[in-house]
Symmetry: C2
């Protein structure tokens, strides 16, 4: 992948010349040092092969036994796997007959509806919660536990502790680990994402290779080579010096729509604390040109636009259209029209003087997705240092949980 | 529906006492007068029965002939019908065997994938574009035109003019009207929403009755009775006087997730102009508590939270859980847990001093959805007057279209 800052830098309206960005370069070493002191595990995941191997092995053992997979998980236990499915199998995968379908049950009011779609005996439930006390997931587990046998469950949880680990041990249910030093929103390259992806036959080796290459870039002291640092620096300077607090993540690919959702959690939960934070917004090209572009162009200058451009897509050809108002479309493929609309929209947004940058990938594949996951995770590590906050906790969600427990009791 | 401002007013941190709000009351008459001068048609739609009757009649004629419906439309031609399907048939409707399935093809890169799911001969394509020059929709139309016969098409377009009207007339394709004084994002209660909804057997009479009742409330000079004016006033004052420019629309109902998407277009395109505007953000309870709540609670005070609370939902029971850390869940229904999480989260957000209000509806049904559509549309009419901008145009999207045409030619 490439990070293209050209539109942003050429605009010149935000003081964001390359020399200005380079002034920050010396922070890379300091930030990396502070980051390593926090002993977070996500950076090592691409190198540690144990999760990959155990996921593949268990998936191999189960192959062909189930028609449907249902992930019981929420937040970080749901978003990564949804993204893997949509990006690499397509957003319409569950309508295809190739199977297995993969449903992610990440809300409370859809349990009954999803249950009706399933042949329960032929459904594998993958229960994902690190603590084993996530109320939504554990309520769902206990609900389905009464309906199917223990052979229909796999648990993904803390390697040693927690309520789900205990249940798994007492019922002899196969379990995979979430390393203790990897938080939920950074867990997509643990068994949380890898095991369901293995069941779908996704190319995990390439995924991990892409991630490993980006983990390498994260350690580069040279700013030109450190893409995550470039991204974090742009976000931080625009917010801190220019009061631009929103990041719009806008892939021009339906397959990457849920990648934007995954990033939305990563940015919000990591950086939104102590009265500060960037607000993530997801948008989808070309669709949201017909919904949000008016605001983006003519509204306040309070958003950084982050396009994701896919160079190679495939799609059918638009036939010849005789109508003079429409014949400019004739003979182009649908994806060409999409790519051209991105160019037109990016140029328009630039002419409206709105800051924007582009993540460019050659195509949507496992390698590039692995790069993107680590690119975003590493940029968050730098952002945490810029804002001098701990990017790896989430103290602000406890009060709501406590009040819910009190109200239910 | 009810609009509950109690949490907001009791907070008292934003100067938003009821007496402060009441100071704005005298603007209602002025704003209504200015609105009526703009001669917008959406307010009359619930009373005009012609779109309802023609949609029902055509749907009745076609009943049973098609397995699938594919809407070719984007923006305002896609979001309303998606919302109607999800809210009243459920977000998993297309997986059920009751049929017909309803796909909304509102992007360019999914044409081939969706095509593979269809038995084309048994598919009805509903082509929706007012001008007949929307490139995405017209490209799709010309693509499928080569694959199926003209009996597989219905057009919904301008009653007199435009490219699609011409094609329909020359091929004798059944057509339904989008009134000329109704813009795309306000068109859900024209044939644009009503005809596909009629094919799904949705109760259109109740939908229109709900809308009509809210259109009545919009004209009330008494602020207590005018819910759209209350909502617009809160949004405007928080933005204008306190610098809170984002509106987070957060239904606690999976069925209403795409209602938030529909509102997202309505607010963004209507008010985002002349350097001003509110940024809409969609979130889903309880799911996004595990993704966004950290930012919402502990991040900057720059968002108005608008919860949608559904009093009556139905769902299965959570069985008895022996574990002492989880037995507070035992014997509650899933929807009770959801409702309680809303209460806990709302209380937490209030304790973090973040402005919030609640739209309360007794249940998700056609009547309440009709109320919600008009409530939001009417609030936009008032917001346009507060900001002194024309809420009914979208000049800021033209440049991108022009550049795209140039680049393709």
């Amino acid at each position: 992948m490439k990070l293209r800052l050209d539109a942003l830098i050429e605009l010149g309206f935000y003081g964001l010349s390359w020399p200005r960005l380079k002034q920050e370069e010396e922070k890379i070493s300091v930030f990396l040092e502070r980051f390593h002191e926090k002993e977070q595990g996500f950076l090592q995941l691409p190198k540690v092969k144990s999760a990959l191997l155990s996921s593949l092995k268990l998936a191999e053992k189960l192959r062909g036994r189930f028609e449907d997979i249902v992930v019981l998980g929420i937040g970080g236990s749901a978003l990564g796997v949804t993204c893997l499915r949509d990006a690499l199998k397509g957003p319409f995968w569950n309508f295809k007959k190739e199977g297995p379908r993969l449903f992610v049950l990440d809300n409370l009011d859809t349990v009954g509806e999803v249950e009706e779609l399933l042949n329960l005996d032929k459904t594998l439930f993958v229960v994902i919660t690190k603590s084993g006390t996530t109320p939504e997931t554990m309520a769902q587990y206990h609900y389905f536990k009464e309906k199917v046998s223990k052979e229909n469950f796999i648990f993904i949880t803390d390697p040693k502790e927690g309520e789900l680990r205990k249940i798994g041990a007492s019922y002899d249910i196969p379990m995979l680990d979430i390393p203790q030093n990897v938080g939920g929103r950074f867990s997509v390259l643990t068994a949380v994402g890898l095991f369901p992806a293995a069941l779908l036959g996704i190319d995990l080796e390439s995924l991990m290779k892409g991630a490993e290459d980006m983990a390498h870039s994260f350690q580069a002291k040279d700013m030109e080579l450190n893409l995550p640092f470039q991204f974090a620096t742009v976000q931080y300077l625009l917010d801190w010096e220019r009061g631009i607090p929103m990041t719009v993540m806008m892939p021009y690919s339906s397959r990457l729509h849920t990648l934007a959702d995954w990033y939305r959690q990563l940015l919000a939960e990591s950086i939104g604390k102590e009265g500060r934070g960037l607000t993530p917004i997801t948008a989808l090209g070309v669709t949201d040109q017909h919904s949000q572009l008016q605001l983006y162009n003519e509204g306040p200058t309070d958003k950084l636009f982050c396009f994701i451009e896919v160079l190679k897509q495939s799609s059918p050809m638009i036939p010849t259209i005789e109508n003079p108002k429409l014949n400019y479309l004739s003979g182009h493929r649908f994806d060409e029209l999409m790519a051209t609309e991105l160019k037109g929209t990016r140029q328009a947004i630039s002419e409206y003087k709105k800051p924007n940058l582009t993540l460019e990938i050659p195509e949507v594949n496992a390698y590039e997705l692995g790069q993107l996951f680590l690119f975003f995770e590493c940029s968050i590590a730098f952002l945490g240092e810029y804002y001098r906050i701990n990017a790896f906790d989430q103290p602000g969600v406890e009060l709501s949980k406590k009040l819910t427990r009190q109200l239910l009791s």
